[in-house]
């Protein structure tokens, strides 16, 4: 995986490509050179399309109950039919349709929460790094330490226990517990960035701190932010599914992959398909994100490859 795109990452090569062709084409070429990166990208596009086109793709209404069609196995098993390709659950709902609709909540919750984490985390990271060593930095870093000592899911369970569960709550909860990943990395980067000549120069000609942070520091952090965000989306998908799985996340009638697993668990001895397919959906989506995230990291920082 690491070595498969070594060639693609020689800086002079991408530079040459950059001079002659459109950026989108250049990115596509870089992507196609990495098998895992391409795989991840394809998965992500497929999941996004599924979420957007759920209404068109799903053969049934995901909440449609059908008492006569309970626990129908997938089509290749005895008793299964093409009418329900992945079978039905204990209430006769079509599993494929539920997985298709489930992708909407998965992407909505994980995507929206990452935006919240990014805004909080990047702002704090830049400010802490820029005024490194000050009292504000000290306080934020202690909060980061405290947060590291409590696993995210524990903290989230407490918040959910207090505020109850709904889609907006869950987005906010994931958002305000996920900023740590950004703050630590970005603070470290800003600490070294601010000693560079161009920042010193800006300061020496009297540029205001706020302008330096926004115009000179922030643009240099974009690649880190993109990589962290991609990997955070994957982490949040698993966290959201874990909460829903415990029955403490998003509640029915909204369809989520985690809750499907929760329901399927009770039927594992007789109807394996109910819990299996939503799990495949989660695992494949997260795998795609990990691959794509790794590829992004390699492209942005060729030196880092092989180090992980």
């Amino acid at each position: 995986m690491v070595h498969s795109h070594t060639e693609a990452l020689k800086p002079e090569m991408s530079y040459e490509v950059a001079r002659t062709i459109h950026p989108i084409t250049r990115w596509m070429r870089l992507l196609l050179r990495s098998k895992t990166g391409t795989f991840g990208f394809v998965i992500l596009v497929l999941v996004a399309l599924t979420a957007l086109l759920s209404v068109l793709l799903a053969p049934y209404d995901p909440t449609l109950l059908n008492a006569r069609n309970r626990l129908v196995p997938p089509f290749w098993s005895d008793g299964g039919s093409m009418a329900h390709i992945l079978g039905t659950d204990h209430l006769g709902r079509d599993i494929l349709s539920r997985i298709i609709y489930g992708s909407q909540i998965t992407l909505l919750v994980s995507g929206a929460s990452v935006i919240i984490s990014a805004v909080i985390g990047i702002t704090l990271g830049v400010v802490c790094g820029y005024y490194g060593g000050g009292w504000f930095d000290a306080i934020v870093m202690r909060v980061v330490d405290a947060n590291m000592a409590i696993p995210n899911i524990l903290f989230m369970l407490v918040i959910v226990g207090v505020f109850g569960t709904s889609v907006p709550t869950l987005i906010v909860v994931l958002g305000i517990t996920g900023w740590i990943a950004y703050t630590r990395l970005i603070r470290a980067e800003v600490l070294s960035l601010k000693e560079r000549e161009f920042i010193r120069a800006a300061r020496s000609i009297g540029t205001r701190d706020r302008t330096i942070m926004r115009k000179h520091i922030l643009p240099n952090l974009i690649s880190t932010c993109i990589v962290v965000s991609t990997l955070s989306v994957g982490g949040n998908i698993v966290l959201e599914a874990s909460l829903s799985f415990l029955g403490l996340g998003i509640q029915p009638p909204i369809v989520t992959w985690g809750y499907m697993l929760n329901e399927g668990r009770d039927y594992i001895a007789t109807s394996w398909w109910i819990a299996t397919f939503p799990g495949v959906a989660i695992a494949v989506t997260v795998l795609g994100i990990l691959f794509f995230g790794d590829w992004l990291r390699d492209v942005f920082d060729p030196k880092a490859q092989g180090r992980r």
């Binding site: 202690r142 330490d145 405290a146 899911i153 207090v162 415990l246 799990g279």
Partner: protein, 305 residues
């Protein structure tokens, strides 16, 4: 050494303080626990008396003061669902979680060390590709799903292990393995990259050029030198194990802290929730401290500051 210990303790105190404040703040917002603690046909006067005796009529900071006073004396309050001291209940469950967690960690290390070394020494071969691929997949599979699949395969289909519960060693195997996979995947990746870095060093080339055997180079010269980062990350995985335990214990009905927490949250038994948060935070901090000390012992180049 002394000043190092002192510095570490001084860093831990504000961390615990922040955690206590966050937890108190959340529970303060959660509002009145009285409704859950008292029977439905209590008179308003009884409710008022209970509120008064719990100090719930005091302003925020007075309540916080009382709460901190309790905390410092090891008093996390009384669980209304168990009618027992909350800390006591958690400490009763702690050994089960420790047993599960340490077994999982052990399995993870036993899997990760040989695989990590193998994929580094055979870099870019089929072995390496297979191991690297497996470790990415291991990271991507959520452990609650893995738990269900293991139950499906080993308990339901082959009937090798019990589905859930506790009591025998057989009950421990599936949950421990579930919990171990994520950590094993992470450690394998880390050992691989850290070995690759060490194998590129000059002293390894020297050892090779003087005709030293391959296995001696790998184990005596390379592996030892890649241990330091591995230990740090292993300790950091403690927090992953704790969060994994919450789910794994629930799926396998393993009577540990995680299962207790999930029950307590659905009952809104906040005294127990608090106690679980503190006990696990404390355990994680302690483990990180041990790792930090071990790190310095293994690598004498790092000074106590």
């Amino acid at each position: 050494m002394k000043s190092y210990l002192l510095k570490y303790v001084l860093q831990v105190i504000p961390v615990l303080f922040i955690i206590s404040f966050l937890v108190f703040f959340l529970i303060f917002i959660a509002g009145d626990p009285v409704a859950l603690m008292i029977s439905d046909n209590a008179t308003p006067q009884q409710i008022e008396e209970l509120r008064e005796s719990l100090g719930l009529n005091e302003p925020f900071f007075v309540q916080y003061g009382l709460y901190m006073q309790g905390l410092l004396q090891g008093d996390f309050g009384t669980s209304f669902s168990y009618k027992q001291d909350a800390l006591q209940i958690v400490l009763e469950k702690l050994p089960n979680t420790l047993l599960l967690g340490s077994l999982a960690m052990l399995i993870a290390i036993i899997i990760a060390i040989p695989l990590g070394i193998l994929s580094a020494t055979r870099q870019n071969t089929a072995w390496d590709l297979l191991i690297s691929g497996a470790s990415v997949i291991g990271k991507a599979i959520p452990n609650f799903w893995l738990a269900i699949m293991l139950i499906l395969i080993f308990s339901v289909t082959f009937q090798l292990f019990p589905v859930s519960g506790s009591g025998t060693v057989m009950h421990l195997i599936l949950p421990a393995f579930t919990l171990a996979t994520g950590t094993a995947a992470e450690l394998t990746r880390l050992i691989r990259s850290s070995m690759l870095e060490v194998l590129g060093q000059d002293y390894i080339r020297t050892a090779k050029s003087k005709g030293m055997s391959r296995s001696l180079i790998t184990y005596r010269h390379a592996f030892r030198n890649c241990l330091a980062p591995v230990i740090t990350i292993t300790a950091m995985q403690a927090s992953v194990i704790v969060s994994g335990a919450i789910i794994t214990e629930t799926v396998f009905a393993w009577p540990g802290m995680g299962q207790l927490l999930v029950k307590a949250i659905s009952l809104r038994d906040m005294a127990v929730v608090q106690a679980v948060v503190f006990v696990s935070a404390f355990a994680i901090i302690l483990l990180n401290f041990i790792a930090d000390v071990a790190y310095r012992l293994i690598d004498p180049r790092i000074k106590y500051e």
